[in-house]
Amino acid sequence: MRSPFAYTPRPGPLQAALPAAAVTYLGSLVVVAFLYPSPIVLAATGAGLVLAGRLAGARAAVSAALWMGVTLAFFIAAVNALVANRGETVLARLGEWPVLGQVDVTLEAIAEGAVLGLRAAVVLVAFAVYSACVDPDRVLRALRPLAGRSALTATLVSRLVPVAAADAARLRDAARLRGPAAAPVGRAPLARRLLAGSLDRAVDVAATLELRGYSLDAPRTKYRHGRSRHDRRFYATGAAILIAAVAGELLGTGAFHAYPTIAIDSGTATLVFSALLVLSGLAPMRRNPRRAAVPRSAGPSHRGSLPTPEATGA
């Protein structure tokens, strides 16, 4: 079965854009997630990314990342509630625990953990959208002139990961189909078998690369599907987000303090910035092609015909 995070070619602006443009756009949202502790800003960033992912057609990747992110967020919040003893609003006193000492669960510690979890979830969604929408071949192609050997290794790995995943699934199935009297197969022997098989697979993939001419020292040429008409949109959106984020940080917007009591900045600047972040999720939206205006007098028979010299003024 295909991973929901696997790249799927689609005719969308984000898929067509240069990897650098897509990385600028998605990377700017990740920067915001790391720069701002405010749950309002983080939630807006997440909403923008979810919107972007859905508009780009990466619905399955976004759903899987959200599921993983929410699980992770709950885990982080729970752990933080146990290990952080700061905060004034004590919800439960759990007494003396080994290693942890006195454990008091506070609302502030839960809130801090939830914000950390939210940040992790936002970053996960960003990487999910990147993984499902940015062609890894184009990324490797861009890297190849800069670091040939690293690109070769990355190519091998990027191909071997799905092959190894398929092998692992087959081995698991075979293990389930073993008769009850056959020696049981634990995780370790299965992992050893997978590793040995992967080495064989790696040799085959390396042979294919060799046959394709990877070892040739031919001059690199431009990729034929270079820039797209959507690149500027993503560069501009990414730059705008970064500028707004830095400016907002300098002005002190989006502040959040968990201790000693929870304090969230919900001023106009923060709300406007958050609204901008949500709207930035519209960047991958496909615009309908503009239709040429047809004069009322022109009948249907003119449609699709070449313009006459008179019509063009020639």
């Binding site: 079965m1 295909r2 929901p4 696997a6 790249y7 799927t8 070619p9 005719p11 619905r59 399955a60 062609d135 071949d137 184009r138 192609r141 190519t155 091998l156 191909r159 799905p162 092959v163 398929a166 087959r170 081995l171 199935d173 075979a174 293990a175 389930r176 189909l177 073993r178 008769g179 009850p180 009297a181 056959a182 020696a183 197969v185 022997p189 299965l190 050893r192 078998r193 697979r201 085959d204 993939v205 390396a206 042979a207 294919t208 690369l209 060799e210 046959l211 394709r212 001419g213 990877y214 070892s215 040739l216 020292d217 031919a218 001059p219 690199r220 040429t221 431009k222 990729y223 034929r224």
Partner: protein
């Protein structure tokens, strides 16, 4: 930078002289004193049993041997006048394309377009020339609709075409293919062979094709090179090859050639058209009837059939009583799988029942739902509706037997008395102390089956159902024959046998009944003699030659010809209308 230009004056697409090669640490050479040459535009077929050196020869011709595999090599190999031993496979790649058996490991990019374009990009071709080459090769192989697809969403047949496109995009003089149809259904396999023939005729590409299913490609070949234990045992025209195989190794005979040799008709046919022409000309000359074969006796369900379709021998001989419960009971089975982001009904309301002792072939093209049905019965998949039950238990062997082999000693895989009983059933009790990796392909398959059976038997009694998924991948005819015997033996012990296969000749060899799946629905279910003679793609070569209901094997066909056409037996081989047969040359 290496010189990537291919000499245009080359008189040979491939020239090998005195080639002997041993893999590192191998006690015996894999290739011994091989000398051969292929002229530009030739279509040559490389035949031979498993492990005879076919793949090693192909790997030597594309430079992987010795550059990639190491080892000791003597002799000379030239590809389009380029010294293959001095140059590496990368430099040879402009002159030679190589397509291996497993398409999974032959793709290195994420999308089809990027995969096809990669060899040109690595050679520094301009974007314009790359765009044109990708477009042209995609059109030639009828895959333009796949260009924007991700490679991991393609079927085996589509992936094999993409690998072929990547090998052809540099317009090499020589294309080497190592059993490219082994994972394809009959439709996709035939399409690939005729695609190669078209490329050979229209582009002048020299083709060297290694294959086990000779009946599929002999008619397309100009020449056959047969190998045995690392040496060339035969090199000549397809018709001469058939005459040679008749004496040297009957495992290399095609079904049509076997039909003719059993019937005493000559010359031996290299394909269906050739065989039909010969038979038509003989019957017209001898009887003056419009189609005397139509009057031949036919085999129908319930009648006693010649070898290959008779009930299990042991059941007949020992009078074993078949269990009253069905071995498999499938009712209104619907299974949904996710392909990409959209779930799809892979099985749609399948009904199927198999009795103990029955041998059933499950056929259909790639993606028809064969493996899904077996995996659902085996409990690996859950149906969204309906049920699939094997009341007396089942053992399922999936496509790759090596997946079952985890430990380094056979006895460690199958400990105890139950393990030994399972080994006895498959005839492997002598190999308790062997390392599974040292076993032959057929023995590994038997061992994997024993692992699936262990503990599911009561004493030496088998579970109700034994299912095999595509068990003949990469097998030569001799090993397929062994497998047919094993299947018959297991059925003789009372187990129902359900075998998913693409190989119609193999199915004709063991099956009493054939179930044909099409797009998740049972589209035919009947006696093998009926289903395998009632179509074109899912019909045996003999059925296609004779076009008689119920006649699917060479033995049945020969019996039919004997009863209906004494004309064929009354003349010496090779004297009937030799000219018309030679003209056909298909």
């Amino acid at each position: 930078m290496p010189d990537l230009a291919i000499p245009t004056h080359a008189t040979h697409a491939l020239a090998i002289d005195g080639l002997t090669y041993s893999y590192p640490h191998a006690p015996e050479p894999a290739l011994r004193d091989i000398s051969l040459s292929l002229t530009p535009g030739e279509f040559a077929l490389l035949a031979g049993l498993s492990a005879c050196g076919k793949s090693t020869l192909l790997r030597a011709a594309c430079g992987l041997v010795p550059h990639f595999h190491g080892g000791e090599i003597n002799g000379r190999i030239e590809v389009a006048s380029i010294d293959a031993i001095a140059k590496g496979p990368g430099e040879l790649a402009a002159a030679v394309g190589y397509v291996a058996q497993d398409p999974e490991t032959q793709v290195v990019s994420t999308t089809v377009a990027a995969e096809i374009e990669l060899p040109l990009e690595l050679r520094g071709n301009s974007p314009t020339s790359r765009a044109r080459a990708v477009e042209e090769v995609a059109l030639a192989l009828a895959i333009p609709h796949l260009l924007d697809r991700a490679v991991d969403t393609l079927s085996g047949g589509e992936l094999q075409r993409v690998a072929l496109a990547a090998a052809l995009v540099t317009r090499p003089r020589l294309v080497l293919l190592d059993e490219p149809t082994s994972q394809l259904d009959p439709v996709a396999g035939d399409e690939l062979i005729w695609l190669l023939r078209r490329l050979n005729e229209e582009w002048g590409v020299t083709v060297l094709l290694a294959e086990h299913r000779l009946e599929r490609c002999l008619a397309a070949a100009d020449r056959v090179i047969a190998m045995a234990t690392g040496s060339i045992a035969f090199d000549g025209a397809p018709r001469d090859f058939l005459a040679w195989a008749q004496g040297a190794d009957t495992a290399l005979e095609t079904p049509a050639a076997r039909l003719f040799s059993l019937s005493g008709i000559g010359p031996l046919p290299v394909g269906v058209r050739d065989a039909r022409r010969t038979l038509a000309s003989i019957s017209a000359a001898d009887r003056g009837e419009s189609d005397p074969l139509r009057t031949a006796c036919t085999f129908s369900a319930g009648e006693a059939l010649p070898a290959g379709n008779s009930p299990p021998k042991k059941l007949r001989e020992e009078g074993v009583r078949l269990p009253s419960n069905p071995a498999l009971d499938v009712r209104d089975l619907w299974v949904e799988l996710s392909r990409g982001e959209t779930p799809r009904d892979v099985l749609r309301g399948v009904d199927l029942s198999i009795q103990g002792g029955e041998r059933v072939a499950l056929m259909g093209r790639n993606g028809a739902g064969k493996s899904t049905l077996l995996r659902t019965v085996g409990g690996l998949l859950h149906p969204v509706r309906g049920r699939a039950e094997a009341p007396d238990g089942m053992a399922l062997l999936t496509q790759n037997p090596s997946d079952y082999l985890i430990r380094e000693r056979v006895g460690d895989e199958l400990p105890g008395e139950a393990g030994l009983a399972a080994l006895r059933v498959v005839g492997m009790e002598h190999a308790v102390d062997a390392d599974p990796r040292d076993l032959s392909g057929g023995e590994r398959q038997r061992l994997a089956l024993a692992i699936a059976l262990a503990g599911r038997m009561e004493g030496d009694e088998l579970p109700g159902l034994v299912a095999l998924d595509e068990p003949t991948r990469g097998m030569d005819r001799a090993r397929k024959h062994d497998l047919c015997e094993l299947i018959e033996e297991l059925a003789g012990r009372g187990a129902g046998l359900l075998v998913a296969t693409h190989d119609v000749e193999f199915a004709a060899g063991f099956a009493q009944r054939v179930v044909l799946l099409g797009d998740g629905v049972v589209i035919a279910d009947g006696p093998a003699s009926e289903v395998l003679s009632g179509g074109w793609y899912f019909a045996t070569e003999v059925a296609r030659v004779l076009d008689l209901p119920g006649v699917i094997t060479a033995e049945q066909g020969a019996a039919t010809l004997r009863t209906s056409g004494e004309f064929a037996l009354s003349r010496p081989i090779g004297l009937q209308n030799t000219n018309s047969a030679e003209e056909s040359g298909d």
